[in-house]
Symmetry: C2
Subunit: 292 residues, 2 copies
């Protein structure tokens, strides 16, 4: 494993890198921050080229590689691909290129959905995601790998992204749109539902209302944070410098945020998603970062 070979060179005290197509990955950042209060993070939102969910697999792969190289060059001990679409299509290429461990959100989300439905004899797992993620079939494959023969029902919910970003997550219109998108999921009486796009946890209340209390909602970002915590332990990569404190907050100045465009809008939406805008936020270019 090439990741293991280079891992010895990686300092435990470096930050964890996170990239996303834009602002949605902040829900993954939130999960990581909550799970690992003694770690610090570098987040890159590719806001110049967002969204990825309606783009072709080849284009998403190219963008994902550029983002990964940008973060790797900053010095990180582990890379989290927060974007579901990029996780679905670009993980193998990213692993080939960066010399550190890479964790996507699809595997953890799929495994968690299987784990919490394991006692059910004929478990049905729903997955809601972008068009590109659904088309890639990556969640269905991850779920099948964890439990052969599991029934997976997928639905694309493309309007959820703009509803979340524009502040309509709790509106009647979002409720009504969600009811239509989720009708195949509700009809199939799934046991668990994977929120397979970083924006969807923002609509969690509406989704919960529609699918009912019996369906376990799986936030892939939270599942990823749990796996990252385990991986840091296993690889001896837990930060040795004490930075956790009960005052530590999301978006504090220990975490560094980069965007490829429109920092103002990122800041505004970040505040909507997390309650506070990033203290350290910088606009950068990631195009043309060379592979090693």
């Amino acid at each position: 494993m090439s990741a293991d070979k280079t891992q010895s060179k990686v300092s435990r005290d470096l930050p964890i890198g996170i990239f996303d197509s834009g602002v949605g990955g902040l829900t993954v950042y939130r999960a990581l921050h909550n799970q690992l209060p003694n770690e610090h993070f570098i987040y890159l939102g590719d806001t110049a080229r967002v969204p990825y969910g309606t783009k072709s697999l080849a284009t998403v792969e190219r963008y994902a590689i550029e983002n990964s190289l940008f973060l790797a060059a900053k010095g990180i001990k582990l890379l989290v691909v927060a974007c579901n679409t990029a996780s679905a299509v670009a993980l193998p290429k990213i692993r080939d290129i960066v010399g550190i461990d890479v964790v996507g959100v699809i595997g953890p989300g799929g495994r968690k959905a299987v784990a919490i439905t394991n006692e059910k004899p004929n478990a049905k797992i729903g997955v809601i995601a972008t068009e590109a993620t659904v088309q890639s079939n990556a969640y269905a494959e991850a779920i099948s790998r964890a439990r052969e023969g599991a029934t997976v029902i997928q639905a694309a919910c493309p309007l959820f992204v703009s509803l979340a970003e524009e502040g309509w997550a709790e509106s009647d219109e979002a409720r009504s749109i969600a009811r239509k998108y989720l009708s195949p999921i509700v009809a199939e009486k799934v046991d668990a539902l994977v929120l397979g796009c970083t924006h969807y946890p923002i609509l969690r209340n509406v989704i919960r209302e529609i699918v009912g209390d019996k369906v376990a909602l799986v936030d892939s970002g939270e599942a990823t944070a749990e796996e990252v915590a385990k991986l840091l332990e296993e690889k001896n990569l837990v930060n040795r410098i004490s930075i956790a404190s009960k005052d530590r907050q999301l978006c504090d100045d220990l975490d560094h945020f980069y965007v490829t465009d429109a920092a103002d809008r990122f800041s505004r939406v970040a505040e909507r998603f997390l309650g506070s805008p990033p203290k350290k936020l910088e606009a950068v270019e990631v195009f043309g970062v060379d592979a090693e």
Copy 2:
């Protein structure tokens, strides 16, 4: 005028170039095609980097220049910037770089709104557009240039783009969202309303229902097609080869479409917008096209 100097070299029989951030500009293509049935068109949709409406002015300018150079290199007699956001922020730079006439959609849309409200003593003109177009204030300035002291009320309607692209244009949810977005426009009792984003004509029925019959709706694409027709006459650039026929249809094989990504999706949305998908559609790269 540098455009005039080079204009003499331009062949009348070349196609008209049109670019947009994606699929929305097809409403401008439709207006041009209907107005000028004896012209042929090259359309570029920058689907790899859509949408422009939430991006920064500098980034939109860079993308717009790359698109313009791509079309200029194909050989066109006139360039229509169908994207409102790009028209709002990048027109001067594009004119500097390509040696042909360039027509944006903001000027024609603004002038038409003034022309049809000219007999009203205290005309109020509403403008709905993307966040970037509203922030640029380009419509308000174009309207003021055409009629000093005209009252302009602007509203951004960011969800309209995805509602149109995802096929929700005639839904109850679109109606309800439109009612909220348009409430300042309705409250001000405007005389005319400019549809200042290429996607918005797709929601025309819903918008009409909410603002009522007394408000004149101005489709910037249609206003642009009228000005382009006049300009071709003035500059002696009308096509001499007869291609108009009563059988000629939108998206026929005389018109060539290029996209920077996801041709399948473009084709599907084009069919939704125009009734038929492009016969000639090609995926291309526009990045790194060099300035002259």
